[in-house]
């Protein structure tokens, strides 16, 4: 007979896990996007390539307000150095660590230690690290930092309902980031000559596949004749590709279902409904049609649905809990202990 009890999960901690995972997934994906952007850079068109990154993240206004101008150096700094930019890697990692701090009672010591050290590494990135071949090495380190986190989490985080919220955050963010990665094609420039154009296009699609860690797997299953819709299919609809939107949404559905089944959280209904709609949206139309009518608009629509799904999870599970206003921080600090 089992005498252990279900300790339950604080709504605030569920939210913390959800966001910690989202922030870290975002960190990895920004690093992937920067890496792929670098390979899109063609002599004379660096600015266009790098500014594309700002556009697919819908960061235009933010970028201007932070006082940056549209050139390669500034875009790199905006995402890798600017702690004041909430979409930068240092800011996302700060967000992850702040959540981790509140979650320390639930996390393994190994997880906390790694985030702490990773945070220190990222807070020490210098402008020199963004130059020339150093940039790609830096992106690799950042990706590895998140991968170490994911691995430690996989191996040490207790698999109770907290883990499901962590996974929900991770997959919602990953699906969103995959659509942004595809979207980078939308902003990329192509040369005019027919053959040159064909080669350049192939290079760009390959770069996207590499950024999504799917290049070799794609090759193994793709037709001999390259077709852009195969890449789109691979990243949106392939059920085996670990970063495809479909795989993410299937994981989300299964986690929501488990939360209902094993933890009695019947309130998942709304979120489940939204994720079903999302799955249909990803699968329903022929890709040829989507590519012809506008991939960018279609990806936008998926992003909007993901946003609504995240909102529904928040409303249902984190609902009662409201974060304290900033002014409360002062009171916290005055709580002296003898």
């Amino acid at each position: 007979m089992n005498h252990m009890r279900d300790p339950g999960l604080l709504a605030r901690d569920a939210e913390g896990l959800f966001w910690m995972a989202r922030y870290l997934e975002r960190v990895e994906n920004i690093a992937r996007l920067i890496d792929v952007t670098q390979s899109f850079e063609s002599p004379g068109f660096e600015t266009e390539a790098w500014y594309g990154l700002i556009r697919i993240n819908a960061d235009e206004a933010n970028f201007r307000e932070r006082g940056f101008s549209a050139d390669a150096v500034h875009v790199k700094r905006f995402y890798l150095l600017d702690k004041g930019n909430s979409t930068s890697i240092p800011a996302c990692l700060e967000g992850a660590r702040t959540n981790a701090r509140t979650l320390r009672p639930l996390m393994s010591t190994e997880m906390w230690r790694q985030i702490n050290m990773f945070h220190r590494f990222v807070s020490r990135i210098t402008p020199e690290n963004l130059e020339g071949d150093a940039l790609s090495r830096l992106c690799t380190k950042i990706k590895e930092g998140v991968q170490a986190h994911t691995g430690i989490t996989q191996g040490t985080l207790h698999r109770d309902q907290g883990w499901y919220f962590y996974e929900l955050g991770r997959y919602i963010e990953r699906a969103d980031q995959t659509t942004r990665m595809l979207d980078i094609k939308y902003t990329a420039l192509l040369p005019r000559g027919k053959e040159e154009k064909r080669v350049a296009e192939l290079t760009q699609w390959n770069a996207i596949l590499r950024a999504a860690a799917g290049y070799h797997a794609f090759k193994r299953q793709a037709r001999a004749q390259f077709a852009p819709e195969d890449v789109v299919h691979f990243l949106l609809r392939d059920p085996s590709s670990p970063r495809s939107a479909l795989l993410c949404i299937r994981r989300i559905e299964s986690h929501l279902d488990d939360l209902r089944r094993y933890y009695g959280l019947s309130t998942v209904a709304e979120a489940l409904e939204l994720s079903e709609m999302l799955r249909e949206l990803i699968l329903e139309k022929p890709l040829g049609h989507i590519l012809a009518t506008g991939l960018h608009e279609y990806l936008d629509l998926i992003q909007i649905h993901l946003h609504e799904l995240a909102g529904a999870v928040g409303r249902v599970f984190f609902r009662d809990w409201r974060p304290a206003p900033i002014s409360a921080q002062k009171q916290v600090q005055t709580q002296v202990s003898a």
Binding site: G8, L10, A14, R101, R104, A324, Q329, Q335, A338
Partner: protein, 491 residues
Amino acid sequence: MNEIFHNLWPEYDSGRFFCELTAPRPDVGPVPQWLAERLQTIGLEALRSRASAAETDLIDLGVTFTVYSDATAIDRILPFDCIPRILTASEWDLLERACIQRVQTLNLFLGDIYGKGQVVKDGIIPAELVYGNSNYRPEMKDFPVPHGTYLHVCGIDIIRDEKGDFRVLEDNARTPSGVSYVIENRHLMLRTFPDLMAGIKLKPVDDYGRRLRAAMAEVAPGDHADPQVVLLSPGIYNSAYFEHVFLAREMGVPLVVGADLVVEKDRVFMRTTSGLKPVHTIYRRLNDDFLDPEVFRPDSMLGVPGLIRAWKKGNVAIANAVGTGVADDKAVYAYMPRIIKYYLGEEPLIQNVDTHICREEEGLNYTLANLDKLVTKPVGESGGYGITIGPRASKEELETVRETIKANPDNWISQPMIGLSVGPTLAEDGIGPRHLDLRPFIITGRDSWVLPGGLSRVAMKKGSLIVNSSQGGGSKDTWVLAERYGQGGKS
């Protein structure tokens, strides 16, 4: 100091102070010599590099407290000194009994002053000191608490004078902190300096969380087989947040902030993913003032509206109880020896430091006439703030203190300057003596239990007497020898 130490550490001189390692003690046996020899074998360089690796470890693990200066928050570690402080079995026996005696008395005192007030009526302590005390909570009047326990967790600051006699310096009856370091320091020693500890039998320190949880369950209302205990923290911006995490984990209970709790129909609940879940005992690390905006500070954003109402209905236990601050007040402290005798009919097992109370004419006159020899302390402060050490103060400083005391004598006490004991400590210029104190932690549910040892705080600066972490103090692992070693340690 015996020859072995003299040969190993020719430069080491504890002067007129009692040395916690080299002073002869009847049942310490050969342990101090082993320790000195082992330190010698490791060598200064290796000690330093291991100590610095250990400190990096603490930062990575986030065993830190947060210091705020202006707008920046800095995570600091409590500096760790690798040379442990040793308490013998008989010393610990005395300390343990003295701590229990003191906590028993404090609980009886609190029950009395929030009840019939017999101790005041019998003239043991002036009424004004109790009822006029800003930490006295009239809301607590005539509200009995389970098992008469007000102080579920108490920390008592104990020092050792030149002769090696223990003295109580201060009681910490509100939300004493530091216990996490006792346990983390031991883990750190085991990881980093296993060769120093090999073969020495010590009393273990890892039972604290279980004991605390058990005490919290004992005071829970009703007859739940497994009451829900939570730790209430002010949150991640609090300097002791690491300790809150540590204790929540050791107890295996949720760490909550005010916003996680809600009172409905005079019952306390926490907000979970599956709705509201009942809470039975709250181990709070939040000051009285902030607990419940309906009763105390209305602007509190950290507390739980209605919490005190639920408590008074007997639906939840709060530990420590509200209003315990009156018992650890520096003015009340002066009366403790008489209060112990009053309730228990016993002499204090460990004496207070002699204390002059400036609200009494005699005490005030004595203090003002001897400012340059005395340590003056404002009452109601903690963390070592506002203390002036007479013999070390300039004339101007003493004049300022004189004016401050004269303006509000009730707010001050003074004590003779005690030559705090020292322990050998790894410093820049080798192993040197540094001043120490000791804070044992006592848990009380139905009965009291003392964590073996306690936090040994050390003033890392040469000659400094201030051991507080907020003012540059560090800590040492505290070893309580599990057995009486023969009449070794021939000195």
